[in-house]
């Protein structure tokens, strides 16, 4: 490690061991209290602070430390909370947090003063260490506060002789739940992260700026950085194929590696885990680590105790699967993930690249990722659209770019997932500013090119209610499915959906096709998602369900939280896979419960597999129908998983399936008296698409109340969305809503007919 600033490292050499024990161990061992060397100035103490704001700020600090991969044990905070009064609380908080500090900033005088901790401070080569900064603020200042150092100056444009001395990097953590400015409380603590370029002893001048202008105080401090070493991952999937995996690395203090706060792609800062391919590595300093490896919800996580001790080390992980649906031709996918926006950053790059998203998918064993370009970074991300799977795809892992209408165009009336586009932007422009404001017009454009379309995050706008359908008291189903509360249609989910579903629009060859192919499920309120779906199915509309995550908006935890599994007869290709969403040869799942091979058999031998052909089993007369599926569920606690047979939205039979992960056949026999849709579900984990059983050639007209509910939805949707339509599309919007009104009114009459 370089020496810089004209002060000899030898001056500090004699304090190495003691210093490491004081500060370096502070975040590692909370039981140890610091021992300051004689002659070292103690931190200024604050005698009393109002208890509530100090404890609230300390709680936020602990949360922020957690985001940095550091942690404060709850027991330590509880001790502070148990203190009796303001003075005791202040003393307890300082006793707990002072040992974790790099320095104290004393703002009691006219100029700030930096009081350094006893050194040398423990750092990590090529890694980040998290420390606190104590701020004593009796004047109640609310300025911005920051630490800096001449040794932390950037290398670009540095003089040759300066390069060696610029070994340090400093980052203040001031994002929420912290703030960039001081709160004004007499005592608070800030978080600072320090990065060391090389191993060994070094020193730096730590400077403090309060408010605007140059630093006004500083102190020389000694550091010592422990060496890090490459840790290479050897990852194999059955049978001995090199693979990618999800890897979470923590140390004894719960600190996450690599530090989240300083990650750039391919490692995402908002995730605790990283994803590594076989042969790739991270650098870790000497120490003990807990490494948890897995590959998506179809695998069993493995936890490995890792010791790094002075040399490179390998970690071997063999993926263990409790199920592999792809072996039976069921290919997983997530039709709604993003490479930009929400939790992603817009700088230094505008989102992340296709290879970064493929890494996420492969690490979760998600076979198909539909990466949707939307409002943020649209004009950058649009370059990745090719109308086919991206070149980074590694079959059977496919990544394809398409569009979510979000942040532009018809987004106010409900976001739309547009999959398998051939052109990503409508005529009339090359960006996002000229799109139709009526969702149905967007769908007309998309369906003309053969896209597969459906609303995103469906329950958004359906969880507030404006009333209840008259005459439906006591008619709600178990678990409020279905229910007859009228949603406010005041959000961006399946809102205009209720209007668009009855429409047919020209397909690629001009033949009318349904305007809406599917409804998205698995990422928003399951009751609201399923309720609107059940009602339109009860009206006879054959909309299918698909599974999504809306990563990293609804969740940044991982891709494939919500999934759709599509059955293919041959190898995986995107066009056939997405066609399986449209046709419903698929089930939705969170990956822990699988409802495969759903099929129906008539007494005379006729059989229909869900999603094959029209998914319709035609009976001449009422009959007992046999419904079969292959079910597997894994409950880590070993509990049973209920599977229900649903007819026209209401459960009619139930089986408790062991949650041991084994695949088992399940069979239900159900008499079908009139045309109905039938599905299997295990709410909220999984749901099949429906099989349509018709009796005597009659269409499904399951419920007049459902038709009335849909009609009420159209009225409510018009109230909330009318203003979102541009004047030039208002006539088309009125026409579309009127068409839907007439359709639901007709269906209501047909439901009531004998």
């Amino acid at each position: 490690m370089a020496r810089a600033g004209g002060r000899s490292a030898a001056v500090w050499g004699g304090v190495t061991v003691v210093g490491l024990a004081v500060v370096g161990a502070a975040l590692v061992s909370w039981a140890e209290q610091p021992m300051r060397r004689a002659g070292v100035e103690p931190f200024p103490a604050v005698a009393t602070v109002e208890r509530q704001p100090l404890l609230a700020a300390t709680t936020r600090l602990a949360e922020a430390l957690g985001q940095c991969g550091a942690s404060v044990p709850d027991s330590v905070l509880e001790r502070a909370r148990a203190a009796g009064d303001d003075a005791a609380t202040a003393a307890a908080v300082q006793a707990v947090l002072d040992p974790l500090c790099l320095c104290a900033i004393d703002l009691s005088g006219a100029d700030p003063r930096v009081v350094p901790a006893d050194g040398p401070i423990d750092l990590v080569e090529q890694g980040w260490r998290t420390y606190l900064v104590k701020v004593v603020n009796p004047r109640g200042r609310t300025d911005r506060i920051a630490l800096s150092s001449p040794q932390a100056q950037p290398l670009p444009k540095a003089r040759r002789e300066e390069v060696a001395g610029r070994w340090l990097a400093i980052g203040m953590v001031d994002r929420q739940p912290l703030a960039a400015t001081l709160s004004g409380l007499d005592l608070e603590y800030r978080i600072v992260e320090l990065f060391a370029r090389e191993a060994g002893p070094a020193f730096a001048r730590i400077e403090c700026t309060v408010g605007d202008g140059p630093p006004t105080a500083g102190a020389d401090m000694a550091f010592r950085a422990r060496a890090s070493h490459p840790v290479t991952f050897r990852i194999t999937d059955e049978p001995d194929r090199p693979a990618a995996a999800k890897i979470e690395i923590t140390d004894a203090s719960g600190r996450v590696y690599p530090p989240q706060a300083k990650r750039l792609a391919p490692d995402l800062f908002f995730q605790r885990q990283i994803y590594r391919f076989d042969g790739e590595s991270v650098r870790l300093p000497d120490g003990r680590y807990r490494v948890t490896c897995s590959r998506g919800p179809e695998t069993v996580p493995e936890t490995i105790d890792l010791v790094v001790a002075g040399e490179p080390v390998e970690v071997r992980h063999t993926v263990v699967r409790w199920i592999d649906p792809s072996r039976s031709g069921w290919w997983s996918g997530d039709h709604h993930i993003h490479a930009a926006g929400c939790a992603h950053y817009e700088s230094p790059t505008e989102g992340v690249e296709p290879i970064d998203m493929l890494r996420q998918c492969m690490g979760e064993d998600l076979k198909v990722g539909c990466c949707l370009t939307w409002g943020p970074c649209f004009d950058y991300q649009k370059r990745f659209f090719t109308g086919r799977p991206d070149d980074v795809s590694r079959p059977p892992y496919l990544l394809r770019y398409d569009i979510e209408v979000s942040g532009f165009g018809s987004h106010v009336s409900g976001h739309l997932n547009l999959l398998r586009l051939t052109e990503q932007i409508p005529p009339g422009g090359d960006s996002k500013h000229h799109w139709p404001s009526l969702g149905l017009n967007t769908l007309r454009w998309a369906k003309r090119q053969g896209a597969v379309c459906g609303p995103a995050h469906s329950a958004n706008g359906l969880t507030n209610t404006v009333g209840r359908l008259s005459g439906t008291e006591g008619k709600d189903g178990p678990g409020r499915l279905p229910n007859y509360d009228i949603p406010a249609f005041d959000g961006i989910g399946a809102n205009e959906f209720i209007v668009d579903v009855p429409h047919e629009v020209p397909g690629p060859d001009g033949t009318p096709v349904p305007a809406v192919d599917f409804i998205s499920t698995m990422d928003t309120d399951p009751t609201a998602e399923l309720n609107i779906w059940y009602h339109v199915l009860n009206c006879g509309y054959r909309v299918r369900a698909s599974g999504e995550t809306d990563f990293p908006c609804i969740s940044g935890e991982r891709v494939g939280l919500g999934r759709v599994y599509v059955k293919l007869d041959g190898p995986l290709d995107f066009d056939t896979w997405v066609e399986g969403i449209r046709s419903g040869r698929s089930y939705v799942s969170d990956g822990t419960t699988h409802l495969a091979d759903f099929a129906a058999a008539a007494p005379g031998g006729g059989m229909v597999e869900c999603g094959v052909g029209t998914s319709e089993l035609a009976l001449g007369d009422p009959a007992e129908v046999t419904f079969k599926a292959t079910v597997a569920a894994r409950d880590p606690r070993g509990g049973a998983v209920p599977v229900e047979l649903v007819v026209n939205g209401r459960p009619v039979a139930r089986e408790e399936m062991p949650g041991d992960g084994r695949e088992r056949p399940v069979t239900f026999r159900q008499r079908v008296e009139r045309s109905a849709w039938v599905a299997l579900r295990s709410v909220p984990r999984a749901h099949t698409n429906p099989i349509f059983v018709t009796v005597g050639g009659r269409p499904i007209r399951a419920s007049a109340d459902s038709a009335r509910w849909c009609a009420a939805g159209v009225e409510q949707c018009w109230k909330t969305k009318e203003r979102s339509y541009r004047p030039e599309e208002l006539a088309a919007a009125r026409e579309a809503y009127d068409f839907a009104r007439r359709a639901y009114a007709r269906i209501e009459q047909e439901c009531a007919a004998p």
């Binding site: 409380l185 987004h411 005041d490 959000g491 969740s555």
Partner: protein, 220 residues
């Protein structure tokens, strides 16, 4: 921030350019606002903004403010005029994720007396769901409703919790502290289930000071 902020930047650039241009008597206001009547939606927004500013009290709706609002020909110009009055800024992104910022200090609060705050809402999603504000106390660990503080959105002829769907609108919230002393309160905003922002940017933590009123005001 998307298209709205882009438009807003453009508007500011236009205004700066106009202010820097040679003045032509009778053709333009000193601030570069074009002459003539504002569009109807802008006029309505201006009237509403003036009424909200009046409701804030304290003489904030002074002549200078009224003049700026009166000259505004765009919602962006109105936003600039009202900027110094806004305490809370809420941003609803296209995915309905809510972000809350305290842009000006709340200051001291008389115990028991509601203090009106002007809330500016940038609504990129165009949602029309009710906006919810609440107070959280983190001092005991997991956030829980604060018993020392209350914040409510006005629900009267002037302001209502339900959003109108406009790209920018203002609402009034009342904040009340129940006891004297300093308190840290976590203000939290959402527009319905699941709209709290990832990374809890939908919360803002504020240090409040409750002071006793004089002459029987408030109470604790």
């Amino acid at each position: 921030m998307g298209a709205f902020m882009h438009r807003r930047r453009l508007a500011i650039i236009v205004m700066v350019a106009a202010c820097g241009a040679p003045a032509i008597a009778g053709a333009q206001s000193p601030c570069g606002e074009p002459p003539g009547q504002p569009d109807e939606p802008v006029r309505h927004a201006a009237e509403r903004l003036l009424a909200l500013a009046d409701a804030l009290g304290g003489g904030v709706a002074d002549e200078a403010f009224r003049t700026r609002v009166g000259r505004a020909r765009s919602v962006d110009a109105l936003a600039a005029a009202a900027e110094h009055l806004v305490t809370l800024r809420i941003h609803v992104n296209p995915e309905s994720r809510v972000k809350l910022r305290v842009v000006h200090p709340v200051g001291d609060l008389v115990v028991g007396r509601p203090r009106p705050l002007l809330v500016a809402i940038v609504n990129e999603a165009g949602v029309t769901a009710p906006l919810s504000l609440s107070c959280r106390d983190r001092s005991l660990g997991a956030a829980r409703p604060a018993d020392f503080c209350r914040v409510t959105l006005r629900d009267d002829g002037l302001s209502a919790p339900r959003l109108g769907g406009a790209a920018l609108e203002w609402k009034l919230a009342d904040i009340t502290v129940a006891a004297p002393g300093r308190w840290e309160v976590g203000l939290e905003a959402d527009v319905g289930q699941g709209t709290q922002d990832l990374g809890f940017r939908s919360t803002a933590d504020v240090l409040l000071r409750g002071v006793r009123g004089t002459g029987g005001e408030g109470g604790d």
